[in-house]
Assembly symmetry: none
Homo-oligomer: 214 residues x 4
């Protein structure tokens, strides 16, 4: 019977799990409000009351508003890297792999998880605020870029992509496609459904970078 032993370990892990759960709830609330209102318009009180806890409790999990923000971005960045890693391991063609990443990024159930991270780099406020504390995130970003670079260069080598276009530019443009935010710019009048948006974007991008049939 497993009840023979009553180890203290699970207890510790329980507290730890509760703690992480709490942190996760805070991050989630923070994400929702931050996306809606932005960093400066969101107070710690707002976040706390969204979670249904007291202001002080937020500080038990994150030493400062900024650190909360950074944790949020870092988590999403890691999510993103994980998606790339999973896809990178497959044996499909380069295009298929890049498409897969795009699809997972646009997948509504995933999308929310990455918005802040994508948002952060789009705001002067945020970027300058981040610049200093980037040390930890930079290596993760570098890793992501390395993986993408490998995929794209395979695609070039296999004749899928145009070798005259710099890999760097492809990466940048590809990453641009990843920000669903960009597609709200001037489409608040929801006349293009997301379901039709993605295939067309894919079409433009991959046709755009495909090897020209001279």
């Amino acid at each position: 019977m497993p009840s023979l032993e009553k180890p203290t370990k699970p207890a510790v892990s329980l507290k730890e799990r509760q703690r992480e759960e709490r942190a996760r709830l805070i991050l989630e609330a923070a994400q929702t409000i931050l996306l809606e209102r932005g960093y400066h318009e969101t107070s710690i009180d707002d976040i706390a009351s969204q979670v249904g806890i007291a202001k002080g409790t937020v500080y038990l999990h994150f030493p400062s508003k900024e650190d909360l923000m950074i944790a949020l971005v870092e988590g999403q960045l890691q999510n993103f890297v994980q998606v790339i890693e999973e896809v990178a391991a497959s044996t499909c063609s380069a295009r298929e792999r890049l498409e897969a990443i795009l699809r997972r990024t646009y997948d509504p159930s995933e999308a929310r998880r990455m918005q802040i991270f994508l948002e952060v780099f789009g705001s002067a406020d945020m970027r300058s605020r981040f610049a200093e504390k980037h040390e930890r995130t930079q290596p993760i970003i570098d890793h992501a870029r390395t993986l993408l670079r490998a995929i794209i260069e395979q695609g070039k080598a296999q004749g899928e992509f145009d070798q005259h276009i710099s890999t760097k530019v492809m990466i940048v443009m590809y990453l641009n496609l990843l920000s669903p935010r960009n597609y709200h710019h001037l489409t608040t009048d929801q006349t293009v459904a997301f379901e039709e948006l993605l295939p067309q974007i894919i079409q433009i991008f991959f046709h755009g970078i495909s090897r020209k049939q001279a």
Copy 2:
């Protein structure tokens, strides 16, 4: 008597001109600092002292910090529309016209004039702040989109662009290209010079949307 000639009109107009000049100086200073530091990190005092006037004077021209910001964006938006209008009137091919707009947007001497406008829509802070006061900018944006739509549809009609891709998507993606900011995302290590960036972006985009040679 000096009242022989109608002195009021010119006087008013002079004052008015001076007034506008003042407002322009403030907007210019605001633009510079806002781009550098972001909305919240920029105080009215910062802007005033950049212009060399007192804080209170800013309020003689703009009723609030937010209105200053909105005036700034509106001005840039109008700039942008003007560029589109100028180009739209030409008789070049659709692609040539769209390329011309891109080039003027990327042109360093013009670029600064549009960055805030482009930046604003990339920050949750800004967007939510704007949402309410959009009434005035929305018609301008609609006008721009109408002009672009016309060009693109000409391009489709003339067989330049792929008719299977929705015009809306093309517009959105095209507007995305316009934000130089996007190309800083992960290119802080200046390995892709801007001069080579633009032609490649153009290449990808226009090849991407070009009619397929079945």
Copy 3:
């Protein structure tokens, strides 16, 4: 059966002793940290972790931070009174007895035990905080003063001290000598060692109050 011997009393007393021991440990830790950092810079957490217990446990012994402080001061005050009482009982001359008290107060091994008490009265923060809860300490202080008064008046009666100087003033000045803190004022550059400081202070004070040889 273990109930043969009356186990309750010793058990309670053991618990009580443990309880008091705990309280003593807390007071000791509090003293160390409070002296180093001051009342406001010391958190209950600091004290608890210095003792190696949890924050809540401190509250099982002292109803508030302030009460902890008061208990500390009261204990030290009692210490001080005890020193006076021990010395007062001796048969030496008045001057020898007052000197003995001074020496024991300055004795490094004792000194720490009284610093907080002396410190408290030197800080406006502390005094105002104390003012209300003085009721309990006041009688102890009165007792100390009575003892000192007796010694001094003996000294006067025996011709040791100048009868023209008020006993009250002598007491006040004498108590002033007791605060080693005072001698840090401007001697941070440690050029006067404590060992030479005390004899000279004694010399000045007792010569100062000695009967004048007309």
Copy 4:
């Protein structure tokens, strides 16, 4: 007539005078409340409403609560040094000069001006808070000590004071006498009037350090 010239200088100086007046009022209020309640128990709001101004206005004059405190202490320190300097210049005997300083320090109209400065060095909180920002005050203190040293050493040379007692110890003890605060320790029961206190203190101290008539 002096009204012939309407110089702008006086206007500037008026503003400047108003500004200084305001700062003085703040310092005065701060002093009163700080002495009563101590640093931590005094909020900027308390000070502001004591002066009858808004919180923000305090910050127009002092960049932080701490700086306000430092300004206060520094001002009082300078007051003290000025007293010493004035007295030091006289040609009286050493004792007379030291007595003069004591009297001026105890003079009720002056006393309030120095209490904070004397208080600060009596609180662990304050001292540690000050330690860092002492750079500016240290030279002033050193100057004061140099002046006092000179007087005392003259006294020794002239046979007024006992040469066997270290000048440093005399200075320290003398400075101790200067803190009226010390004489409240245990004399809240106003049985010794200040008028009789001072002469007796003087008597003890100067008899204490006087050359012994072997």
